[in-house]
């Protein structure tokens, strides 16, 4: 009988131990046999004889396996399996709830302090001011919360930058991921304005977007942020505060 056979025969009797416990028992027994064999080799045994002798002095593998098995009662195995499943469920639910907490935080932030929730991009302009315009679009709320204005040297035209967000009407609900992408910008007279650029982002709790480089006229009193898709329409007229900028 060699080291492997000894361990195999011990483990064959370990019916109530988990796979990890069996691996640990094998490693411990193998370590012992190798230590003994090393001592025997130093005493003059050749390697094979030392290993065989070391396994032999361990005793009867079936008796040892049976005695070891009593230390791992069936109840313990069931308990360890149940606790493993419970731990996995707990971890999954924790991750899910953490995700939900983050979504909830974003949703609340978009309602109460959207400027703080704007993590990607920022409104630009020589004059930046807050506004609060909201419109229901399906299950969501489209909100414009900040505007930046810059007057060009000609004194007649300017550039606007506008920050908007959307969130679900239900604070626990998921924000639409396409609403902001489909917003358009119009002048007071109804002509469509094309932003020169934009940046945004967000998660399930809220989505943000900053549209930059929108050409506006000094005579425009507002800039309209519009949505018109899937039978839902919204129009938010964002006042252009030229007076505030020039004062």
């Amino acid at each position: 009988m060699d080291e492997r056979e000894f361990c195999d025969r011990v483990l064959a009797r370990l019916r109530h131990a988990t796979r990890t416990e069996k691996a640990a028992v094998r490693a411990e027994l193998e370590g012992h046999i190798e230590d003994r064999a090393e001592a025997l080799t130093k005493a003059g045994y050749d390697h094979e004889a030392a290993m065989a002798r070391a396994a032999e002095v361990m005793g009867n593998p079936e008796e040892i396996g049976g005695a070891l098995d009593k230390q791992y009662p069936l109840g313990w195995l069931i308990l360890s399996r149940v606790s493993l499943i419970f731990s996995i469920l707990l971890a999954v639910s924790l991750v899910t709830s953490l995700h939900s907490v983050a979504e909830l935080r974003d949703s609340v932030e978009a309602r109460t302090n959207p400027a703080a929730g704007l993590r990607s991009g920022s409104v630009t302009g020589t004059y930046i001011y807050s506004v609060d315009l909201r419109a229901d679009v399906g299950n969501d709320v489209l909100r414009v919360f900040q505007l930046g204005l810059t007057l060009r040297p000609d004194g007649q035209t300017g550039v606007a930058s506008v920050a908007l967000c959307n969130y679900d009407q239900n604070v626990f609900g998921a924000a639409s991921q396409i609403l902001i992408d489909n917003t358009t910008y119009e002048t007071e007279s109804g002509g469509e304005l094309m932003p020169a650029g934009g940046s945004g982002g967000g998660g399930s709790g809220a989505q943000y977007w900053v549209a930059d480089g929108i050409d506006v006229s000094r005579t425009d009193e507002y800039l309209a942020v519009c949505y018109d898709r899937f039978g839902e329409t919204a129009r938010l007229e964002v006042p252009l505060d030229w007076e505030g900028m020039l004062s």
């Binding site: 640990a24 411990e28 370590g31 012992h32 002095v57 005793g59 008796e63 040892i64 005695a67 230390q71």
Partner: protein
């Protein structure tokens, strides 16, 4: 008296060995043999059910440590609970051995001159 003895009180002896320092299984066998002047002889593998039982009962704790050869060894450490168990087992042994000695002494007294 026959020199080699099979160990019947392995739990007590193991707890006693671990009261001195943390040891791994093979070391315990060697230490037991050395301290008993090679009087105690046991099938070495039978130590492990005892150790694992003590671990399950919380009398010892195990931890892994790498030997200089790179081999990982499982060391056993006596816990506070194990210390209390050692004391209780020691007292039981003293009572038992005292009773055996008393019987032997009384037997010697009755022996014919």
């Amino acid at each position: 008296m026959e020199k080699k003895q099979n160990i019947e009180h392995t739990r007590l002896l193991v707890l006693s060995l671990l009261a001195g320092k943390d040891l791994y299984g093979y070391q315990m066998i060697e230490e037991l043999s050395r301290r008993s002047n090679r009087t105690f002889e046991m099938k070495e593998g039978t130590l492990y059910p005892v150790l694992h039982g003590l671990e399950r009962d919380g009398a010892v704790e195990a931890y892994m440590q790498e030997a200089p050869t790179g081999r990982m060894r499982k060391y056993y450490h006596l816990t506070k609970k194990g210390g209390a168990l050692l004391k209780a087992e020691e007292e039981k042994w003293q009572t038992y051995s005292g009773a055996v000695n008393a019987v032997l002494r009384s037997g010697a007294g009755l022996a014919p001159a």
